[in-house]
């Protein structure tokens, strides 16, 4: 009986993989045609198109039809007037501009992919004040709402049942929160951890939920938030502020007048001062690079299917197997990375704050 089940399961997996490969192979012929120029697939375009921010939320293209969600564009032009319009206006118009605003498509320009307008006098491309709700900004909002709803539902439960042990999702969240609180925040900061634990917990769960949402390939997820330098910049700056505003006298004394022989002071003082800034800088780059790289690798692996689409059905089908196998592996790895990066960011932030608030050791 057991063997029979095994055979059935094996057959099922085989059929599933074959169907997957065939549909992917077929779809690649239609889908790939979109980013195909002169019969070649522009993988760089696909990957960067996803990793970078966008003014509309592109879901899929079927032949020539693009399915995307228009997002609000909010800009203040040279005239000092605010303009709010859906991003679909830009796509609908034949020359791609609306009220003088258009998305820069010049390859050499620093504004590539951003909304620009032409200066009235000089005719140069200038960047308006742009507060558009871009795809990443929408992602931030979706994750924020999700996070607030999840945590508040848990805290509401906690307030209603003060002496009961939670079960199910609330129990899981409580365990998760207390794990970070006790094993990361408390362990790294020490006795004064209570003041910083809300910030560090918020940072952890904000990063974690964004990492996870980034792994979901379609609409409510699939945005690259924590792989965007702006997001990690804000988080790193907040850690920097928390660290330096809570620094004790000893902390600052160690920076400007460290405990080293006088001869070493000219070397040590600049190093210490650079260290103050390099620590949050490293936080920013680490999170950004890890998540961005994860997204890039998965996209590149998916692109294998489209790249090999023109190389014949046999090669395409077999490469689809390879691509899917690697994709599954990478997604699992990214799931791990999603946790690890959130954990590392929180732990290092806690360590920096812990170093800043530490009482001097009794010699």
């Amino acid at each position: 009986m057991k063997i029979l089940f095994k055979i059935i399961r094996f057959r099922f997996v085989q059929v599933l993989l074959l169907a997957l490969a065939l549909t992917a192979g077929m779809a690649s012929r239609t889908l790939a045609s979109e980013s195909v120029e002169d019969g070649k697939v522009d993988v760089k375009e696909i990957v960067f198109g996803h990793i970078q921010d966008a003014y509309s939320w592109h879901i899929t293209s079927w032949g020539d039809a693009h399915v995307s969600i228009p997002l609000p564009v909010i800009v203040r032009g040279q005239s000092g007037e605010w303009h709010v319009f859906p991003s679909s206006r830009l796509e609908e118009s034949p020359d791609g501009s609306y009220k003088g605003f258009y998305i820069c498509k010049e390859n050499g320009s620093t504004y590539k992919g951003k909304i620009v307008e032409r200066d009235a006098q000089t005719g140069e491309e200038v960047r308006p004040l742009d507060l558009s709700l871009t795809k990443t900004a929408c992602g931030v909002l979706i994750s924020s709402i999700l996070l607030v709803v999840i945590v508040l539902s848990c805290s509401r439960w906690a307030r209603r049942n003060p002496t009961k042990a939670p079960k199910g999702f609330v129990g899981f969240m409580e365990m998760f929160i207390m794990d970070i609180n006790d094993n990361v925040v408390k362990a790294c900061i020490g006795p004064k951890y209570k003041r910083y634990s809300p910030y560090l917990l918020t940072a952890f769960f904000f990063i974690f939920i964004n990492n996870l949402m980034g792994l979901i390939p379609i609409f409510p997820g699939g945005y690259n938030v924590t792989g965007n330098i702006t997001i990690t910049l804000v988080l790193a700056v907040l850690t920097f502020l928390f660290t330096n505003f809570s620094g004790t006298k000893e902390y600052y004394k160690d920076i400007v007048w460290p405990h080293v022989p006088l001869a070493l002071k000219p070397i040590m003082i600049p190093i210490e001062i650079i260290g103050v800034f390099s620590k949050p800088f490293a936080l920013m780059i680490r999170l950004f690079a890890n998540i961005m790289a994860g997204h890039s690798v998965i996209l590149c692996l998916v692109s294998i299917i489209f790249v090999t689409a023109s190389m014949g059905i046999v090669l395409n089908t077999s490469m689809t197997f390879v691509s899917m196998a690697f994709c599954i592996f990478m997604n699992m790895l990214e799931l791990l990375v999603a946790y690890i990066q959130a954990y590392v960011f929180t732990m290092l932030s806690a360590v920096f704050i812990g170093l800043a608030v530490a009482e001097p050791e009794e010699a």
């Binding site: 970078q52 945590v151 508040l152 929160i177």
Partner: protein, 165 residues
């Protein structure tokens, strides 16, 4: 390179969103949960301590009750022993008493029998004396001429007397 340049619009939205999330969660989210967990921990510790105390108290009560039970058992055995002894004593006393009584009665009866026998012997003797006188009377009344017949008479009379007796 453009990947490494922060975007002002996104910066604005991110700051806004994160600060709101932080404010809300720092006020109504995480502290509530951590506080609840700590309070629950204290509550559990307290409950465990109370349970421990109750347990030890219960153990004390159990020991005391066992002691009382053992004492009662001992007492019971003692009482039972005493009762058995008392009972045996009563029975033996009663037996002795009964024996004495019986002996006494027996003695009395014996004395009475002896007295009655004496009385009877005395009565018989008197009777015999009377009879002898009677016989002598009768003998004398009969003809005393023949010695032989006299003797026969006497014998007969004696037999009569004996058989009458």
């Amino acid at each position: 390179m453009e990947l490494l340049l922060p975007d002002s619009g996104l910066l604005f939205w991110m700051l806004l969103a994160f600060i709101i999330v932080f404010a809300v969660l720092a006020k109504y989210g995480f502290p509530v949960i951590t506080k609840m967990v700590e309070e629950r921990k204290l509550y559990i510790d307290k409950s465990l301590k109370a349970a421990d105390e109750a347990n030890s108290a219960l153990a004390g009560i159990k020991a005391t009750s066992e002691k009382i039970l053992a004492e009662a058992h001992e007492q019971q055995i003692k009482i039972l022993n005493e009762a058995t002894q008392a009972g045996e004593k009563i029975i033996s006393d009663a037996k002795r008493e009964a024996q004495l009584q019986a002996q006494k009665q027996l003695d009395e009866v014996r004395a009475q029998i002896a007295a009655e026998r004496e009385e009877a012997i005395r009565a018989v003797r008197r009777e015999i004396a009377v009879l002898s006188v009677d016989i002598a009377e009768k003998v004398t009344r009969n003809s005393l001429n023949r010695d032989k017949s006299q003797m026969e008479l006497v014998n007969r009379l004696l037999d009569e007397v004996i058989t009458n007796k």
